[in-house]
Symmetry: C2
Subunit: 207 residues, 2 copies
DNA sequence: CCCGAATTTGACCAAATGGTCAACATTCCC
DNA sequence: GGGAATGTTGACCATTTGGTCAAATTCGGG
């Protein structure tokens, strides 16, 4: 197959600007709520110019989504089968929490998509993601069988790590509204709490 | 102030139908994604007839939202200060999980709203909800001080219960895509897992 | 059965929005 | 420096959508 990466330098620059603008707009407005004019303005381009680089609004959205999905799953991939189990899992937890703090737009973009039934990435979920999760689940089951972690359902364990960490990005408005202080102040407290929560559950019973 | 409840029986019936249709449409399409025609069709009314009962799309949305917020928080209110702490919290957990199973549309509706910064209910969050959460947090702190539960941050404990349970409604597409089987099959496993997770964290250390 | 109030709707409107196109500007490379 | 390829845009279009309105229909009580 032929190469399909952007050739010219100006093409690469504008495509980058469009993806950045699209991330900003889609993550706060959702797919249907976002408009091409908003994205064009955020990217510093005219609307027809947008459509010179992408054939449609949907093409921008799906391109952005699939491009980000890769890096979004890196922390899960990075769980080291040869590492110390509990520290590996707590490390994964912390990396996910950092992503909620540092990349909340990406988190909200995915949340939005999945909320609506994941129409654009369902095949990615049922394919590569499922495979990856199943692989890590097998790893967790092995650790449990060896008595190195408590025998928890690995799938639901992963879900609970996803949900508790992404909560601070996706539901940030609620968190801030309840805790009061704006910004990223609660992430330290969240890390402390979640570390305790999962460490106590992962530690095998040997008392 | 005068009474503002619907007088005639036909008014009550149609308002009910509209709220039901609006819940269905708003929860799957989001506020901007939903159209009056969709809602009208789902309610079995014509669009002008819709607007005879509600002045605008936004009025339907906010009316629905604030009406549901009440019952949505009932489980939290029901935590009994005189009960056995750990069983009270695990009972709350189960009730929240049941709500994700039985009322996923309501859960997604709120998730959508909060994802976008909670523009329509931020005052409800910063007011009554915050007050309620603070009250229950004080209760949890009291229980911790008495050594009846582990000394966890009560706010983040509540957040983690919300996020883990609502995950099965809001991210149901992802859960189903990874676990395979459709429907509500995973709720039993989820309950088992979450009960273990939170019981192990809530149980005070006295080994 | 009849009248006023309540309810319903077809036709319509203005604004927003995704997308097109021909013309204009710029860049690249020989 | 010039011509082809690349990049940019103002003007425009069709459709969708929230909302209006006057006319028509139904309802409820005396």
């Amino acid at each position: 197959m032929t190469t399909d990466v952007p050739q010219t330098r100006i093409q690469r620059k504008n495509r980058e600007a469009i993806y950045g603008a699209a991330l900003e707009v889609f993550s706060t407005e959702g797919f249907r709520g976002a408009t091409l004019d908003q994205i064009a303005a955020a990217a510093g381009l005219s609307k027809p110019n947008l459509l010179y680089y992408f054939p449609s609004k949907e093409a921008i959205y799906t391109g952005l989504l699939s491009g980000l999905l890769e890096t979004w799953l890196d922390p899960l991939r990075d769980i080291d089968p040869t590492g110390e189990p509990i520290e590996e899992m707590l490390g994964y937890l912390c990396r996910k929490l950092e992503m909620s703090r540092d990349f909340p737009r990406e988190s909200r973009l995915f949340a939005n998509e999945i909320l609506r039934g994941a129409p654009h990435i369902l095949d990615q979920i049922e394919g590569p993601l499922r495979t990856l999760v199943d692989e890590k689940s097998a790893l967790l089951r092995g650790w449990a069988a060896a008595g190195r972690i408590a025998p928890l359902d690995p799938h639901h364990l992963i879900f609970s790590i996803w949900s508790t960490t992404q909560h601070y990005a996706d539901f940030g408005a609620q968190v801030s509204g309840i805790l009061g202080s704006e910004g990223e102040a609660h992430f330290k407290d969240a890390e402390d709490f979640l570390t305790i929560l999962f460490r106590s559950a992962l530690t095998p019973v040997n008392n």
